[in-house]
Point group: C2
Chain length 679, copies 2
């Protein structure tokens, strides 16, 4: 067959039965104008005929004509249906010959797989036809339901029955040479190949199940929020570039800036930018009073260097509420360090409540797990002290200990003078799950500043520990800062190794945790330099409100002591969401911009509308955003968020299926006032 | 007061009551390091104190500290609540002095407006305080609920009661000089000003109500689809440029094409594109079999010249289904022209059913209107013949008449020879609603080809019409083509004028209509030239399947006779959605691309993955997309879709609030491998 023949189409419905009257439509034609007779008589295309295939075509045709509606999907049939005749549609997979008398063919769709049984002796043409169909073709089957022998039954959809085939119609043949077999789930092709043919890989039951679960969770989220009087509002995607954290994607337009008089060469092309989050529009929305409570399952964009398991576009569950509380005037405030608390002493309790409601509902309806009514709360300081991380994994112990007081007077004095403390991780002989991991770690290089405490040293004596214990020590500033400490990272490494060795099995129930009372401002570092010319930058973002207890300190210039009304939601050591009570006082926001962060006029200009909106009578407000892809990845227990996204990109941001990003003609770029960079 | 003072913040809770113990927190400080005492003693900031304001500050401060939760929103209170003490939060609007004894102040939020009553003689400080607060400030009120005198009651939320103020706390003062007053709804500021300060305009109850209705409708849509086993799937926004209709927005990346060996100057910058619709990903998704039924409320993008009432980004309710029908083999097929039908003779009945279900549910739950179980169906030809439009407004008559047979033999023969017919609009003396409009139209210039039939002419005699009737005639091709005819446009003009004159009042109930059996291919014109080098282009898109009755014709080359399985949903003369059964047969799709549309290799290459997906055993499938913004605009009865979008752009695509699109530095552009166009 030459190329033309292979793409020639003949509408042919191949329905082979024995005895019964097939519903068949047949027309004979060729795409090039000549009518070729395929059977002895010319059959008008709307007459049902007995269709014994007279010729031996080696290629099969799609069915492009009416066909019977199915009666069930491939996961629906149960023992109750035994004895009935059904019609199913699905993907025909590879034959499993049992013996000469009968064969199994799986028929799969997104609901499940029905086992088809064919008896070649009884229906030789049907069997031959079925065997001629390439696996992964879509077919329609008419057959009779039978219960499987009890030993054959499986606790899966349609797992108790099988369907004996009476007739089969080919709906759409698959190419016999597919890049890989999606049904071959134990022998997955390499990821790049599967991403290139994502429409084939998506056929895998795991991915299908992940997408369905994602849809279910999204619907739960919306229903809970809807029932709690939240209004879903869509915010713009074509927005404006803001100097906030990561690099933003731009969108060229055919609009240009107005030409200064007489100088048309000074016209600049104008760009939208894709938002990293709906932060600004949502604050403006709540400031307007148009809605009391906003939510959106929003697409966000971030042009970052390919970090592990990130996508250039990702989804957040985003919400904001008016009239959030600003804390409890009667809650005791520990001004002494370290500030440990198990209470929610900041504002935004309403956000906490709705999120816990959401999460509890999701885990109950999807996992069947009942979570506590209220999640554990920990202050930033406690998290850093005990776990060396602002998103602690509290599923295991091995907590960090402050050993400052147990050191020699000399060392204590030295630490005091430099405003530091000494911490340690101590793995006792009795900490069985960590013994082998501890030995492994001893062989690996340590981070600078982390010191392995050798046996028979003074420190050990002071600590009162035997040589049985493994001890690492490190100094750090007394006031915690940053996301993690070296000992915190060591703790995670020990856990990771212990799990790989099989010594440590983490509890399976999810461990949720709120972390609150973060410092509002951090000493400026390279990451955030562009948003702070002074000594300080915002730990999270500049719109976070200070705790009411620390407002006075902020105005007195004691910036490092100011805690923010920010809250992170941590699950099993992963940050799945974060938010805060916002500044609603325009004067306070202006103070933060100008006096604390010392933004210049240009930087402040991007926030002009926010400042003005606050001056139009914005209510106290706060909100949160959850990383939806990550949440789904956790719920679906996938390695990567790629497995919970229908059409993900690779780590470097390329789409192997759609072949993007791609070059664009110089002509098109010219329309947008731009061109490829010279040199 | 200098600028610095105005932005200085003092956390001051101004709660003035008479007698009762106010909850008040007061701290005295200044942002610049000096503590200033505002009252005789230094009051620790967490002691409740009797707060008589000692000084006469002329500016008011935001409340940045804990405050009591409200007990109700501003639309909640009813007669049942009379006698109770409540706490409300909201926007304080302008005082309405009734007499010396009492005043009203409206307190508004997104739920409604509660009437506050203040008795200045009883509470002079509270009254003075309230009068000092600029309108649109956010406040908290404590007061007692009283029923209004029956004559004062209104059938609106909180319309039966009023609240007598006991105390008021200022939460956030508004600037006394706002750009406009959002509460001044009868005297709207010009649209550009309101768009620039959208966060103020959104406070208008109309816009708030529109956004809430939009959220409600979105939730209805999702719930109905969810209950019908649809899976919500997010498709990519960072996609690839496709040669499909309107211009697409591009997104520069920092990725570049691989440099050919030794030639690093030949490296091209690479771009994503923003999708005009999820068409390709959704077809690939259904082809994969991962889900049976997909839906998404999807953001779409289109870089068009500013057309009337369009946005560069807009929202579609998008869905696709596997296993859609391909029609009824027994339905009679009229091969004779004109092909009028009231039946659904194409495939995709499942899409029709779910959409009717959706629309009926929306109209019932939102409007309280019960729509018919099944909508009217009309073929494209009937729509063009009777109404001269492929989206006919069937709320009024004045149908176009084919008068060919009533003309002279000479004229008939001439028309026959040129394959044309003669049509007419006839406004009889008895068509009262159109009489005056008809006179008006006589005075306006007509489209070329439309002829006003003067009194006492032969044509009139042949038509048997008196001089009382007003008649316009026009020829057109016998086989209808395009979206409307000149007489169709004239018909709409007559209706528009008649409505403006008040002679014609259209029925208020919504008139839904399916239009089916469009020609699959159109003779290529300039609009679509880039997608057709031969004589034909796709009327809708190249993936639309032909009606099964016309498949043979297509392969025989009788392209103009082929009707597509496309369906448009029309409401009151507006197209609100459209979709089709797709081609699932790769060979057929290839035939359409190569033989009918005659796409070149480059054009076909953008569809390579779709063709291959069809070859991997794609099921028969079909879907639809509804214009969600337009649907909401109709439901909310707004002039423009801007009034149902939270942050819309102007007609020219600019965002007056966020000041986008905006220039981008040359340095940033360099990172993306591009620069401003030279010259």
């Amino acid at each position: 067959m030459n190329g033309l023949n292979i793409v020639s189409s003949r509408v042919l419905s191949s329905t082979i039965t024995r005895g019964a009257l097939p519903r068949c439509l047949k027309s004979t034609f060729s795409p090039y104008g000549n009518i070729r007779n395929l059977s002895a008589t010319s059959i008008p295309h709307d007459s049902p005929v007995n269709a014994q295939i007279q010729h031996r075509d080696t290629y099969l045709q799609a069915h492009c004509a009416p066909y019977t509606p199915r009666t069930h999907n491939c996961g629906a049939l149960t023992l109750q249906d035994a004895g009935s005749t059904v019609i199913l549609n699905g993907w025909l997979l590879t034959e499993r010959k049992v013996n000469k008398k009968f064969s199994f063919f799986p028929l799969q769709d997104s609901y499940g797989t029905t086992q088809l049984v064919i008896h070649p002796d009884d229906l030789p043409e049907v069997a031959a036809f079925m065997r001629s169909i390439p696996p992964e073709s879509t077919v329609q089957v008419e057959g009779e339901v039978h219960s499987r022998p009890p030993s054959q039954r499986r606790p899966v959809p349609a797992g108790e029955i099988e369907v004996t085939v009476k007739s089969m119609k080919l709906l759409n043949p698959a190419d016999p040479h597919l890049p890989f077999m999606p049904s071959d789930t134990h022998n997955l092709a390499n990821e790049d190949l599967r991403m290139r043919y994502r429409y084939l890989d998506l056929r895998r039951p795991t991915l299908s199940s992940n997408l369905k679960k994602r849809s279910k969770v999204a619907h739960i989220i919306r229903s809970v929020l809807h029932d709690n009087d939240f209004t879903e509002v869509e915010t713009p995607i074509l927005l404006k570039s803001t100097p906030e954290g990561a690099r933003e994607y731009l969108v060229p337009t055919r609009l240009t800036s107005a030409a200064p008089e007489g100088d048309s060469s000074n016209v600049q092309p104008l760009f939208y930018a894709l938002p990293q989050s709906p932060q600004q529009p949502k604050q403006l929305l709540i400031a307007s009073g148009s809605v009391d409570r906003y939510y959106q399952i929003a697409r966000c964009f971030r042009d970052e260097d390919g970090r592990k398991d990130r996508q250039p576009e990702f989804t957040q569950v985003d919400l904001e509420m008016a009239w959030v509380s600003w804390g409890d005037p009667h809650s005791p405030d520990t001004t002494q360090l370290p500030r440990f608390t198990e209470e929610w002493r900041i504002g935004g309790r309403e956000v906490k409540d709705i999120i816990e409601n959401l999460i509890r509902t999701i885990w109950y309806e999807v996992e069947g797990i009942e979570l506590p009514k209220s999640f554990k709360i920990m202050s930033y300081e406690e998290a850093m002290c005990r776990f060396g991380s602002d998103k602690p994994d509290i599923r295991f112990g091995l907590e960090i200990q402050d050993i400052t007081s147990r050191l020699s007077a000399e060392m204590k004095a030295s630490l005091e003078a430099s405003g530091e403390i000494m911490e340690a991780i101590i793995v006792e002989g009795s900490d069985k799950p960590f013994n082998r991991a501890a030995k492994r770690v001893q062989k690996t290089p340590l981070e600078p500043g982390v010191q392995f405490v050798k046996p028979d040293t003074d420190v050990r004596i002071h600590l009162g520990l035997s040589n049985d214990a493994t001890i690492w020590m490190a100094k750090r500033k007394r006031i915690a800062e940053g996301g993690s400490t070296s000992l915190g990272r060591l703790r995670l490494a020990l856990s990771s190794i212990a799990q790989k060795l099989g010594d440590l099995v983490l509890p399976s129930d999810p461990h949720f945790l709120w972390v609150t009372e973060f410092p509002l401002f951090t000493r400026a570092d390279e990451d955030k330099e562009f948003l702070a010319h002074g000594r300080w930058s915002s730990s999270h973002h500049p719109f976070t409100a200070p705790m009411w207890q620390d407002v006075q300190k902020m105005y007195e210039g004691r910036i490092g002591e100011v805690r923010g009304q920010h809250y992170d939601l941590v699950l099993n050591g992963m940050e799945i969401g974060g938010g805060s009570v916002r500044v609603h006082d325009a004067a306070m926001q202006e103070y933060i911009f100008s006096k604390v962060l010392q933004l210049d006029e240009k930087e402040k200009s991007s926030f002009k509308h926010l400042l003005h909106a606050l001056k139009c009578g914005a209510p106290p407000h706060g909100g949160i955003a959850l990383g939806f892809d990550r949440l789904m990845s956790i719920l679906c227990k996938t390695e990567s968020i790629r497995d919970v996204i229908a059409f993900p990109k690779t780590g470097s941001g390329t789409d192997l299926l759609f072949k993007s990003p791609a070059p664009v003609s110089a002509e098109t770029l010219r329309e947008y006032g731009i061109q490829q960079r010279n040199g």
